[in-house]
């Protein structure tokens, strides 16, 4: 059933492409990647990563020092870009602080600090080092709690944790609470940072590429892990305010019920999620002008997603995965790629999919080998996660 569109009043993103929107837009336009050989922490894996520059130099506000960890520093760096803080202040003046919710997707929150603390515990008779703070760093809620306090908001809040679809789901959840009348606006985003669990974990599953990932290439051999903080401000808006704005038109969700770490081979759940997003937005497949694919670069994901999108969309639909530029930012990917769609709508830029030599034959769409100028009205973003949890988001220029 159709849902009420929500105005995307403001957005920002920080990834390995740079802090804030201008470097991201430039890199997408120039088809440039931010991936580099992995030299993160003490990691000795042969792979590439999308590391955000300058996280170590970020300092949190004095009152929020208990939250100090890589993930919350990345959140803070993200909040400082593109006037996001000011936009939230203006929204708080419109609605009241208790009428604005905070919904952040993350998969690993501040687990890096716990991983490092475990290394020290042997020397400390089995105890974690002094100063270890579970609540404000490790717990999955830490980042949403941090963002809520940093923005001085007082509405409902939660961290959404559905692996690689976490921050796409955050949009769906925020939309429900606004529609139910509990809040009028929401800060919706994703923050996930590099850690050993994901680098060694995806390696154990043999899902990481040795070189930079090659989404939808026939010879693709895995993903490249990245990190990002991406935020949007969604607001309830009267029809009169609709000119020139960009809108969240609908979200579609489904479960594969197939396997914990492998997608359904024909992308059955992915297809249902996209269909439900179209129904929520009251749109047809032909209305979609650009698809930002999940496109991780693993053989199984890209094959399943190819079958699912090819069954729904025609051969002229432009699409790409931006993960070869940003890396797979896991719990932040849904929000980061929502921003890629919002940039496409605002600037008329369809971003290229990088590192492509021979296209996956099952993908019967117009895969963008070069970035292209266009005037898209509607953009779709796909996100799929471990546990078979799928979410598709539709954004558009007209409500």
């Amino acid at each position: 059933m159709p849902t009420t569109p929500l105005r995307v009043t403001h957005f920002t993103a920080t990834s390995c492409l740079g802090a804030g929107l201008p470097p991201m837009l430039a890199a997408l336009a120039e088809a440039r990647s931010g991936l580099t050989p992995c030299d993160f922490e003490t990691v000795t894996l042969e792979t590439q990563i999308g590391e955000v520059a300058g996280i170590d130099a970020v300092s949190l506000p004095r009152a929020l020092r208990a939250f100090d960890c890589r993930n919350n520093r990345l959140a803070q760096l993200g909040l400082e870009q593109d006037g996001f803080h000011d936009a939230v202040e203006a929204s708080a003046a419109r609605w009241g602080r208790e009428r604005i919710g905070v919904f952040i997707g993350t998969s690993t929150s501040g687990i890096l600090e716990t991983e490092i603390a475990y290394r020290a515990q042997a020397a400390l008779d089995g105890a974690l080092p002094p100063g270890f703070d579970y609540r404000h760093r490790q717990n999955s809620f830490s980042v949403s709690d941090y963002v809520r306090r940093a923005l001085a908001l007082e509405g409902p809040a939660a961290s959404l944790c559905t692996a690689c679809s976490s921050s796409a789901k955050a949009f769906a959840s925020a939309q429900r609470l606004i529609e139910a009348g509990l809040i009028d606006a929401a800060v919706v985003g994703g923050v996930d940072s590099l850690c050993l669990t994901t680098l060694y974990g995806f390696h154990a599953l043999q899902l990481t590429a040795r070189t930079a990932c090659r989404p939808f290439d026939r010879a693709r051999d895995g993903l490249s892990i990245g990190e990002a903080a991406a935020f949007t401000l969604l607001e309830r808006a009267p029809a009169a305010a609709r000119d020139g704005a960009i809108w969240l038109l609908g979200a579609g969700e489904s479960s594969d019920a197939h396997h914990m770490s492998a997608p359904h081979p024909e992308g059955a759940g992915a297809r249902v999620a996209m269909q439900r997003a179209l129904e929520a937005a009251a749109l047809q497949p032909a209305d979609v002008d650009y698809i930002n694919l999940h496109g991780t670069g693993t053989p199984s994901n890209d094959s399943a997603e190819s079958i699912a999108v090819s069954a729904l969309f025609g051969p002229a639909t432009p699409c790409s995965s931006t993960k070869a530029a940003t890396g797979h930012t896991l719990g932040a990917a849904g929000a980061l790629e929502a921003v890629a769609c919002l940039l496409a709508l605002r600037h008329g830029l369809l971003p290229a999919g990088l590192n492509l030599s021979e296209l996956e034959p099952q993908l019967a769409l117009d895969y963008l080998r070069q970035s292209r100028s266009a005037a898209p009205e509607v953009a779709l973003s796909n996100s799929f996660g471990f546990g078979g949890v799928n979410c598709a988001l539709l954004f558009g220029r007209a409500a």
Partner: protein
């Protein structure tokens, strides 16, 4: 202020000395004394053999409470969207990964890694019941029950169909245990449906408030309520157990709480 409302069609409970909802209801109603005992987690019979071997305590807990709530309602688990909420997810698995990463070889098993996602229990649930409906997993630290309840009620309002809520937490092993001292496994599941459901055993209306939270009459259960995030929902169950319509306040974020109006 806006209220969210739904019918309750089924309840599932599993915790220390609380093997199921009828046993929990008897203690909450004062009909039976509470007898402390470690939480006994049943084998996850609904899972295929391969997944059953890989299912840790948190997965067995979530599957058990969900199955009880669904069975009491008479609905089919296959058709139900779900909201899973947990403060810490799988603490045993998290500990094992951190131990492995502290060793020289840093070998994590693939199963450990895919079980490390916060939505692991939801993934196993969908596989166990062949359920293709949407599932959301969230975390709000000590506010996790309240956050899950709000999300589930908003889903009922949006979808106009039943939604299964599962709130659960397990204890961490040392050394994390001393930093997050959850005493034992506890889970609570509610099958919520649109108002007017013919299967309703009660109705609830929820709104945000700033009043003090309700304590439980049983001191033993009150101790569980304040020490396990998922047990923050027990005041709501106390009213249902006593068939006592009225208003309870449950913990949520900082000074914000949830006023829950129960009509039995």
């Amino acid at each position: 202020m806006t209220a969210l409302a739904a019918a309750i069609e089924g309840i599932g409970v599993l915790g220390p000395g609380l093997p199921d909802w009828p046993a929990c209801a008897a203690v909450l109603a004062g009909a039976r004394d509470y007898v402390a005992a470690r939480t006994l987690l049943p084998a996850p019979e609904a899972l295929p053999a391969a997944e059953r071997r890989r299912a840790g305590r948190v997965i067995r807990l979530a599957l058990a409470i969900g199955a009880e709530a669904v069975a009491r309602s008479g609905r089919d688990a296959r058709s139900l969207p779900s909201v899973f909420t947990s403060s810490g997810g799988d603490g045993d698995n998290c500990h094992a990964i951190c131990v492995a990463l502290a060793e020289q070889e840093r070998l994590i098993s693939p199963t450990r890694f895919h079980n490390s996602v916060h939505n692991a229990a939801a993934g196993y649930w969908s596989i166990a019941h062949g359920c293709p409906e949407p599932s959301l997993t969230l975390c709000a630290y000590d506010a996790s029950f309240g956050a899950g309840l709000i999300e589930a009620l908003a889903q009922v309002a949006q979808r106009q169909e039943p939604v299964l809520l599962l709130a659960y937490d397990i204890d961490y092993p040392p050394p994390l245990r001393s930093h997050r001292p959850i005493p034992d496994a506890f889970g609570l599941s509610l099958l919520l449906a649109p108002i007017g459901s013919a299967r309703a055993i009660a109705q609830l209306r929820v709104r945000l408030c700033r009043e003090p939270s309700s304590a439980l009459e049983s001191p033993a259960l009150e101790a569980l309520r304040v020490s396990i995030p998922a047990a923050r929902g027990l005041p709501l169950l106390e009213r249902l157990a006593r068939a006592h319509s009225g208003r309870s306040v449950i913990d949520y974020l900082d000074g914000t709480r949830l006023a829950v109006e129960i009509q039995t």
